[in-house]
Amino acid sequence: MRLIAISLLLAVPALATAADPVDYRKDIKPVLQERCYACHGSLAQKGKLRVDSAANLLKAGAIVPGKPDDSELIIRVSSGNDETRMPPEGHPLKPEQVAKLKAWVEQGAKVPADDAQEPDPRDHWSFRTPVRPATPKSANSIDAFITAKWSEKGLTPVPPADKRVLLRRVYIDLIGLPPTAAQTETFLKDTSPQAYEKVVDQLVASPQYGERWGRHFLDIWRYSDWWGLGAELRNSQRHIWHWRDWVVESFNADLGYDEMIRQMLAADELYPTDPQKLRATGYLARSYFLFNRTSWLDEVTEHVGKGFIGLTFNCAKCHDHKYDPIKQTDFYQFRAIFEPYQVRTDLVPGEPDVMKDGIPRAFDCNLDAKTPFHIRGDERNPDKDRVVNPGVPQFLNPDGLKITPVKLPPLAYRPGARPEIVEGYRKATEAKIVAAKAALATAIADRTKVTKDTPLPEKKDLLQTEGKLIFKDGFAKPNPDLWEVGPGMWKHEKGKLLQQKPGGERSHLRAKTAPPDDFEAKFDFVITGGDPYKSVGVAFDAAADNEVMVYVSGHAGGNKLQITYKNGASFVYPTDGMLNTPIAVNKPIEVLVRVRGPLMNVSLDGKHALAYMLPISRKPGKIDLVTFAASAEFTGFALRELPKEFELVQVGKSVTKPVLTAEVVEANVLAAERTVIAAEAELVAVTARAAADQSASKNDAKAAAQAEKLHAVLAAELALAQADAELKRTAPAAKPAAEQKRKAAETVLTAAKKAAETPGEAYTPLPGALKTMESNLDTTSKTRPFPDTSTGRRTALANWLADAKNPLTARVAVNHLWLRHFGKPLVANVFEFGRRGTAPSHLELLDWLAVELMENKWSFKHIHRLMVTSNVYRLSSSAVGGDANAKLDSENRYLWRQNPIRMESQVVRDSLLHLGGDLDLTRGGPPVLAAAQEASNRRSMYFFHSHNDHNKLLDVFDNANVLDCYRRTESIVPQQALALWNSRLAMAMSVKINDQLHARLADADDTKFVTAAFEVVLGTSPTKDELATCLEALTELRTALEDVKDAGKRARLQVVQALINHNDFVTVR
């Protein structure tokens, strides 16, 4: 062993010799620090060895000065044996590093006098609770600390910013919108000493404040709308926007940050029946990931750590943290806090369909779920013997988390019993009764009109309108005049058209004749195979960027009829354009699609199935027969004009039944009576179930069970009556099928009656929430009752985070605020407050702010006011006159001037719309979907934004990365120029701004115009040179535009657009 080591040393080229003195500080300490300290320093002392000072090395006998060959340190780092070589992980030290170490020992292992071992990690500045430092005397304490550093460093601040510049700065900073000309005017005219403070108060009180600062924190908290494949939810949640609205409202209400943390992490335990507060747990619901629970909880662990306390837990997933006293166990203990939680969607009053609305929220579902300990972080290699208990790192909380399980009130785990939800059910049922009674009246009226001899005139058969035929094809043989064959394997055989490619790609046959605007298309086919979707349908308005498709899918995972439309790049699958309905394979299917304007009707096998209103404006295009992952046989296709008088079924309305004979009307009356009775019984059952849910008493449960079963009987009787009526209506050919149906209804009725004989105590609680699948293999958890207890783990965590003794929470928060007000944070890396991070530029200021936050009810608005009213905030961002400062502090670490900030993407778009007078300030609600964004003037934060779907324009200016965005990127790329020159939005808003300037200034000359344009767009007045340049450009433009009408105004438009493309438009100066 020794021999190998020596020979290896001999092989090292003469990189360092005894003659070259080695500098410990430069050549030795950094190498040891990088490669050895993690195991042999203050965090860990493997083999009882510390190498973080020469004294420690000597004490352990790891070095023998002057004798490298006898020094274990040298032997081990130069060992050729993988078993003994140090460091054991990663590549060996480089030969030149080994040579230096050797030379250093040879030269006597000299160290500077101040060589000291690493400090105890627990003494790291950010791991000790902040205390309020003494404040030097000053009007604003922030200035006191800043000024002290200026004097210490010999810096002289630049003058304050111009009033206009300051106003634009504070407007954009606090509400994300620049001031209007009128707002600027008011401010400039206000000569009172409190003029600026007044503006600040107004802005902080404005509802746009919550949107602006809510969006900042939504970056940090990783807001994302849901994404998936088609209708399959894979990440985040539908309706997660409820959480976004909670954030905006909470900021506007100045809810304390401590309380925000408590609600986001544990509202389900702290306020289990308050839907408004439950929205906050969207923070946890957002991390939902269908495919992998480990990834899901890894992300939660990582981002709770980084977001709230600036700790990088994620570094300890595979091994102990290299810099901070976070053990690998701590990572899994932290994860264990979240282990029991899952996601469900609570109903909102009036909407029983969670696909349409509902509040996605966290709840403890699997109370005894075990957290695995993954050896080396490898999910495939769990340590089966290790029990992981919930907890936070010991060095921050030596006493451990005090976890108390929470007994939940019944309304929390039986959310269907919430009075407002019950009321919704009651109202819906009452409406059913009203409708049933009306239908009964109609049925009775029909009966009086019909006798055996005079049936009512037969209404038009749904399948036989009299629209002009455009073309039809029975597919007996190829018809190249009618069709253009697209992708797929299409061929004619035995009088049918076959599509035989069952693969995952879309196949189509395109009609050479495009349909008119309003049309009906009928097609008959059999799905013969394919995998997995088995989809067959028709696409119309088909062109490069738009298309509407109607298809049926025999997908084993869920048969359905679906309408989908494309607007731009991606397809939208609206839930109200979907009908879950059996789609048979190997049986004939007939689909009829009728379209008038945006209204679509789809019939399946002669029965009305779906009415849908397209939310987009239609554009003309081709019509295609389409298959997707399906093989199929087509037997007919007909395209007709839709007759003007033909009445389409409106969305939400039912179809009028066609044939009315005496026998039928009699059966209809009976069925209608049964409908009323069943609905009334349903109301009784709903009321009883609600009462039982709410009281949890045995007697009520009995009553509920009885009422429910009685309703089941009456519902079965109704079904039977309907089957009777159906049978009487049915044409002879279809009678056997109708008979079958009637028989089935009879069987159900018998069973229901039998069940009603012994009602028991078991009843179905009213559904009040739907659980999201735990994984793609989860088929059962959806129907399990919700637990009546919660573990209390997240409450304990939230209380610990929001405790004034926590050294990190308030510091991390004020640092985020500082970053966004001043362009640079006090602690350089906003999510790394551990020892790997850098020390704050102004530690005392940071601590003072942290204490100030905590002692003022964790009020962000209080801190905003302090920051933006400080003198340092009001400094110019220009470096003019600051040459001496630049030499001392080129990075402006000590804020001798303000930092210019590139507007976030949302602010760029919102500002354009705002200056153009077009911004729609509607707040909250469901996000604006991709297809509607181009036409929407809402604030950008309301645009649908997920990992998959993002707005093209916002992306150009560095939109938030939904996975991780502690700080926006501020890139400068040519696409930004292209967007501000060429996008419809930038061009249209330039026109509007130009129009407004002309309207306001009437016959202003160019000088006045240019001055006003500068003031509005850039928030500054032009300099003499800038003005001259603009005037010159205007002259040139006018000459070029000589022949054009309105040349003067058009020339000025280019000035406006040039200003929108000015660096200082996208920059907050």
């Binding site: 495919f291 069952p502 003019v880 890139s971 400068i972 292209l978 800038e1026 340049t1029 280019q1054 920059t1067």
Partner: protein, 471 residues
């Protein structure tokens, strides 16, 4: 020649940001790349052809007669049953568990196509790829690739080297863009064409969006997003407006001296203006002869779309664009994702890409560009030796083929071997980042020198150059 940095100053911007984040100050030695290669480069540009969905290696570049011999037999009934030894299957890191894909299929499916020997090297190439076959003496086929994501997250994985569950990482193109300066100040340095599936939408990730590929369309009228005015304006007006904003920005430097963002914006805007003018010219094929257009298959509907993209690629390479990333085939998880109907699918897809690829290689060769340009043909994974359904193949990560040509690489060689049924790569196995490392090596880059503080990469991220295929 190397000018830092077309896509606006991104290295410096990143440096500024890192500094702000406090990483850079810890590593005093760190500075952003200066745009110069780290060692003498053998290649200047890359044309990266990615087949979305997963190409069957056995029916393209790695013929396995044993499949036909044992067709219909379960693998366990053949002499190759050891391939399913669970130890050997451990590679897979499952993201999506379901029955529709990502499963081992046991019943061997016969080869759906014949093979012929091509060129002096006599390398066998599928009958579906005659034009590629004609160029085989310029191609290094690598038959021993493997990856670990058995679903289409492998698309990202092939570009970044990381499994989807690890998070988001920069793609190879982004690293090249980050590391190397531009050769043409009028064009973006890193472009992408074709359809990117949702698994693989962006490139820059932690290097920042400035290192994303610029999406480009082969449409001279509208090649870029926001590449032309969306409302009417005359060119003269717009030019006057642009000149004005340029002058105004420059005047502002008096008020705001030492403002790197302002300087960068002036540069970026000038470049945008040039780009807007240059790209339509690049895409104007009227200067190409009919013979050239035919060479790429632009005269035929089956090959037109891909042919146009490849001819555009040659014109971009000619003008010094560094990295052209083309994704072939959209729809679902990618057009090559042939869970059923393999023969029809691959016949058609091979037809769509083969002649354009052959044309590209021949054209690059005759114009002398091939020696400086690496062409890569790749895909996320191969297909199972066993059949899925009656006539498909499932995803297969344990062995598959890619090829590379030009840029100082050897031609007419086969590197690496899979077992007799194409199941496992058994000799000279290569993870996807070995392809990256080979390209970086040829471009003169040392990926370890590009690492940025706070973003330590693993050895597997860097990969190892495949020295056997380097000339």
């Amino acid at each position: 020649m190397f000018r830092r940095d077309f896509l606006g100053f991104s290295g410096l911007a990143l440096a500024a940001m890192l500094h702000k984040d406090g990483y850079a100050s810890e590593d005093a030695k760190w500075s952003p790349p200066d745009g110069k290669p780290h060692h003498a480069p053998k290649a200047k540009s890359v044309i990266w052809l990615f087949m979305n969905g997963g190409v069957s290696h056995m029916e393209t570049f790695d013929p396995k007669p044993m499949l036909t011999k044992y067709a219909g037999k379960s693998i366990n009934e053949t002499p190759f049953k050891d391939v399913q030894n669970p130890e050997k299957l451990k590679l897979a890191r499952v993201t999506v568990i379901n029955d529709a894909n990502g499963q081992q299929r046991n019943k061997l499916y016969p080869l759906q196509v014949g093979f012929k020997k091509y060129g002096k090297s006599g390398i066998e190439v599928s009958d579906w790829l005659p034009h590629t076959g004609d160029c085989i003496d310029d191609i290094a086929v690598i038959r021993s690739m493997y990856t670990t994501d058995d679903n289409h997250g492998a698309q990202t994985q092939f570009h970044t080297g990381r499994h989807m569950l690890d998070g988001e990482f920069p793609t190879l193109g982004a690293w090249v863009h980050y590391g190397l300066g531009t050769l043409n100040e009028n064009l973006p340095q890193f472009v992408s064409m074709g359809n990117r599936e949702y698994w693989n939408l962006k490139d820059g990730h932690y290097l920042g969006p400035a290192h994303d590929a610029v999406p480009m369309r082969v449409d001279p009228a509208n090649p870029l997003d926001y590449g032309k005015p969306e409302l009417p304006v005359t060119a003269a007006e717009q030019k006057a407006g642009f000149m004005l904003s340029d002058k105004l920005n420059k005047l502002r430097t008096a008020q705001y001296p030492n403002d790197p963002a302002l300087d960068a914006r002036i540069k970026a805007y000038e470049l945008a203006f040039r780009m807007q003018k240059s790209l339509p010219e690049v895409l104007d094929f009227s200067k190409e002869t009919a013979e050239t257009q035919k060479l790429y298959g632009i005269d035929r509907p089956e090959t037109k779309a891909f042919g146009q993209q490849l001819l555009a690629s040659r014109r971009l390479v000619e003008r010094g664009v560094r990295f052209i990333q083309i994704q072939h085939g959209a729809g679902g998880a990618g057009v090559w994702d042939v869970h059923g109907g393999l023969k029809a699918n691959h016949t058609k897809n091979c037809l769509a890409v083969d002649q354009p690829i052959g044309g590209l290689l021949k054209d690059l060769k005759r114009t002398g560009l091939l020696k400086d340009t690496i062409v890569v043909f790749c895909t996320e994974f191969g297909r199972t030796p066993g059949t899925q359904g009656s006539d498909g193949r499932d995803h297969h990560i344990y062995g598959f083929s890619v090829w590379m040509a030009g840029g100082g690489l050897k031609g007419g060689i086969v590197h690496g071997v899979t077992d007799e049924i194409g199941f496992h790569a058994v000799e000279d196995r290569h993870y996807v980042t070995d392809v990256h490392a080979t390209i970086m090596q040829q471009l003169g880059l040392d990926s370890r020198k590009l690492e940025i503080p706070g973003r330590k990469r693993l050895d597997i991220d860097h990969g190892t150059p495949i020295k056997e295929i380097i000339a």
